[in-house]
């Protein structure tokens, strides 16, 4: 092949992809040689998952090429990628829930004997091949998915957050097996947030930031700091310092006290206090248990252990209505889940006002109009397209989701990544709004995937890694690199 530039088994260059107004990838590249495990890293929103989808043929890039063993494999489907020798194991197991293990193997023409070999190698020798996938626990599914990939004997194995939600003993076996694959001459792309695993099995790391490949470094002791710097880029220097007077944490009963909260496999042990008038940031990489934490607090999901106290009273939420009755209000990450998209701005803001049964009957229009008008004014919502919320910009939609709780009056607000995908001006307005709410006595829990927001909007931040609180940082110390290090579990210290 004349156009093979290197001995790379997989060679992706200049990959770009745009979704509407968002340029998810600008110029991503990745080279993997035979016998290597290469880590693919990047902070939330760096474009990692888009890049993985392009490598595996789920998405077609707008420009750039992916070559496997010198042949262009820029294909548009996973079956094609597999023919070229790349087999992925996704974060969510790609097994058919209503088919048996054996039928899943048949569906993808996977040889059964090597599969059996690999499942027992990976620590699940007694798996029943006739068992339906939907009857198996998640950890087993990941092992089945990995064993299926290994049985195909791919040239390139792509593992996306493979060890998330795996018990420790299985993690060790999986890591050994993955390393052995590379030692036998195959190539592995290892997408992970976990530095200890990367240090244990990877040869190199490729780092993405804002859709660009910003580094390709050999893994050696102490490289973690450099990788963190690369993931942050110039952001550290440019961090806006808007110091507010430090708040002294009151010693009164906290509005919300969470102790030893556990649910599912991801949220293992989270405790913190949230006081009246405080904005408490939550910092976590994707999938560290923050989704589950907010679900439990909003009454969407039950905790398997731990307690939630509101104003000193222990509470158990069986339904979102219980959480709302206790004064806990969730603004979900996906605006589409919170808004009535084809109704007007006014109606959307008024909905929680009406949600009380004692107001059953005629809507008191005058009172409603006054409250709603006030909320629109406070938030400076652009009401030119107010007839239907769907026609507003993302930022204005987000303001509507917050505005409704201002109109109603809120005690404890749970914000889940409220500024994702909205412009900087609107973001600032939302920070201001959150501060105002706190100054009026509300307690706010603020999860954000943008580390810079902690300083701008919060008083303190708890850092969650692997389902546990690993650090509590005051806003004045919360520069991005401190937060990033903590979020990657590099500075673990027991919270006071």
């Amino acid at each position: 092949m004349p156009d093979v530039p290197s001995d790379a088994v997989l060679d992706a260059t200049g990959v770009a992809k745009r979704f509407g107004a968002v340029q998810a990838l600008k110029n991503a590249s990745l080279q993997v040689k035979a016998g290597q495990v290469v880590a693919l890293m990047g902070a939330n929103g760096a474009g990692k998952s888009t890049f993985v989808k392009i490598l595996t043929g789920v998405l077609k890039p707008d420009s750039g090429h992916v070559k496997i063993k010198g042949r262009d494999s820029t294909v548009a489907n996973p079956a094609g990628a597999r023919r070229w020798g790349l087999v992925p194991v996704y974060q969510e197991p790609s097994l058919i829930p209503d088919l048996s293990v054996l039928d899943n193997l048949r569906l993808g023409d996977t040889p059964v004997d090597p599969f059996r070999h690999w499942v027992s190698e990976l620590g699940l020798p007694d798996i029943d091949p006739e068992a339906l996938i939907r009857s198996l626990p998640l950890a087993s599914l990941r092992i089945v998915d990995l064993a299926r990939a290994l049985a195909i004997e791919p040239d390139v194995l792509l593992l996306d957050e493979l060890t998330a939600a795996l018990p420790t003993d299985l993690v060790d076996r999986v890591l050994k097996t993955v390393r052995a694959q590379a030692d036998a001459g195959r190539s592995v792309i290892y997408v992970s947030h976990r530095f200890n695993e990367i240090a244990a099995i990877c040869d190199r790391a490729t780092v993405l930031r804002d859709g660009l490949t910003v580094g390709d470094v050999a893994i050696e002791p102490g490289i973690e700091e450099r990788i963190v710097e690369m993931m942050l880029g110039g952001a550290v220097a440019a961090a806006v310092s808007e110091d507010r007077p430090a708040k002294t944490v009151p010693t009164t009963t906290p509005r919300l006290r969470v102790k030893g909260l556990k649910t599912g496999t991801r949220l293992t042990d989270v405790s913190f206090d949230l006081h009246k008038g405080e904005v408490l940031g939550v910092v976590a990489l994707e999938g560290q248990g923050q989704d589950e934490l907010f679900d439990v607090l909003a009454g969407n999901r039950k905790a398997s252990a731990g307690t939630v106290e509101v104003d000193g009273t222990p509470k158990t939420f069986h339904h979102p209505a219980d959480a709302i009755a206790a004064g806990l209000t969730l603004v979900p990450g996906d605006r589409a889940h919170a808004l009535l998209m084809s109704r007007s701005v006014r109606e959307n803001i008024a909905v929680p006002l009406l949600a009380r049964i004692k107001n059953w009957g005629a809507i008191r229009m005058g009172e409603e109009a006054a409250k709603v008008g006030q909320a629109i004014e406070t938030l400076q919502i652009d009401t030119r397209a107010q007839g239907e919320v769907r026609r507003l910009s993302g930022g204005n939609q987000q303001k509507v989701t917050i505005a409704r709780w201002i109109a109603k009056g809120v005690q404890t607000l749970l914000l889940f990544d409220p500024t994702r995908g909205i412009d900087i001006r609107t973001k600032r307005q939302i920070y201001g709004l959150v501060r105002d709410l706190a100054d009026e006595g509300a307690a706010v829990l603020f999860y954000t995937s943008e580390l810079a927001e902690i300083r701008l909007a919060c008083d303190r931040a708890v850092v969650i890694f692997n389902g546990r609180v690993v650090d509590v940082i005051d806003a004045k110390d919360a520069d991005e690199s401190t937060l990033m290090r903590a979020a990657y579990g590099l500075t673990e210290r027991a919270p006071a």
Binding site: I96, P97, D98, D103, R106, L107
Partner: protein, 316 residues
């Protein structure tokens, strides 16, 4: 063995229910016998074939609202072409009608895959299209049908208690479905119904498989349309009540709306159950309007009862 019973408990339950209903029929009407069974089976045949077609689409995660209209197109096409034809000429006509069914279904499926308009909308639109086509071909019941076809489903075999209509149903369903069920295509149909994303990632050609599912539905609709003509001897351009009846039987038969679970035997038994209930209510001379209310209530009750049993089973 235990696992087989567990996996097929719903179907076994339906079989027991059907046996109980037939026994009850015998109690209500002591002279119910071979001929009663024969006419019950013949009346149920178009419903059963429609249900089989619907079940395949639902297993693959879709729904086809145009099924009764496709049956009408097949019925009138067969009756118009066969009117006055010899037995020898009628064989290629039957094959042609079956191919027409496949084609109609494939058109439905292709429109859904290509336009990405929801299946319920596309097939609702196609319901009107196929209805119009049927009336263009024949604007009033008429035409004719080869006598040997009528003979296929009329009468009983051997010891009188095995209606030919049941044998016909079993044979065509087995010949078409069993090879598919045991091949990779069968796995793919279940896979796209169960989890289309996982199926896509497992390398299943999701769009193609969906089109195949609708084409198979069209094929069974054509068989159903022919069976309507085989029962009456003429072509029927106005679609019968097969759409809602087939959805009802599919649900009662243990196929989950939403896809991925269930088989064909359950829905076939469910059709027979629903027809037997109707017959019994007629025998008891219940007001037809009251009978409809009772039928609907039975359906809801059985499905709810089944859901409760399934939940209990999981917790036990």
């Amino acid at each position: 063995m235990t696992r087989w019973i567990e996996a097929n408990s719903w179907t076994l339950g339906l079989a027991v229910l059907l046996a109980a209903l037939l026994l009850m029929t015998k109690l209500i009407q002591p002279d119910f016998g071979a001929s009663g069974l024969e006419s019950l089976a013949r009346a149920a045949l178009p419903f059963a074939l429609a249900t089989v077609g619907m079940a395949i689409v639902v297993i693959a995660g879709g729904i086809d609202l145009s099924i009764a209209a496709m049956m009408a197109v097949a019925s009138v096409t067969g009756a118009v072409l066969m009117d006055g034809a010899t037995d020898a000429q009628s064989i290629p006509i039957v094959i042609g009608v079956l191919l027409l069914g496949l084609a109609m279904g494939a058109i439905n499926g292709t429109l859904i895959v290509v336009t990405r308009v929801p299946d319920i909308v596309v097939t609702l639109a196609m319901l009107f299209v196929w209805q119009g086509v049927a009336l263009l071909i024949l604007n009033a019941p008429g035409g004719g049908i080869a006598p040997w076809l009528r003979g296929l489903i009329t009468g009983s075999f051997g010891p009188d208690w095995l209606p030919r209509a049941i044998v016909f149903l079993a044979v065509v369903t087995a010949v078409i479905w069993l090879p598919i069920r045991r091949s990779k295509l069968g796995l793919r149909l279940y896979a796209i119904g169960s989890d289309p994303l996982a199926a896509f990632r497992s390398g299943v050609p999701v769009g193609q498989t969906r089109i195949v599912a609708y084409a198979l539905c069209g094929l069974f609709a054509a068989l159903g349309g022919l069976s309507v003509s085989m029962g009456t001897g003429i072509g029927e351009p106005i679609p019968g009540p097969y759409l809602l009846a087939s959805v009802a039987a599919v649900v009662l038969g243990g196929v989950v709306l939403g896809g991925g679970r269930g088989g064909l035997l359950g829905p076939i038994l469910a059709v027979l159950i629903l027809r037997t209930v109707r017959m019994d209510l007629t025998l008891l001379s219940v007001d037809p309007n009251v009978a409809a209310i009772i039928e609907g209530s039975i359906m809801v009750a059985v499905v709810m009862f089944g859901a409760v049993l399934a939940t209990r089973g999981r917790h036990a």
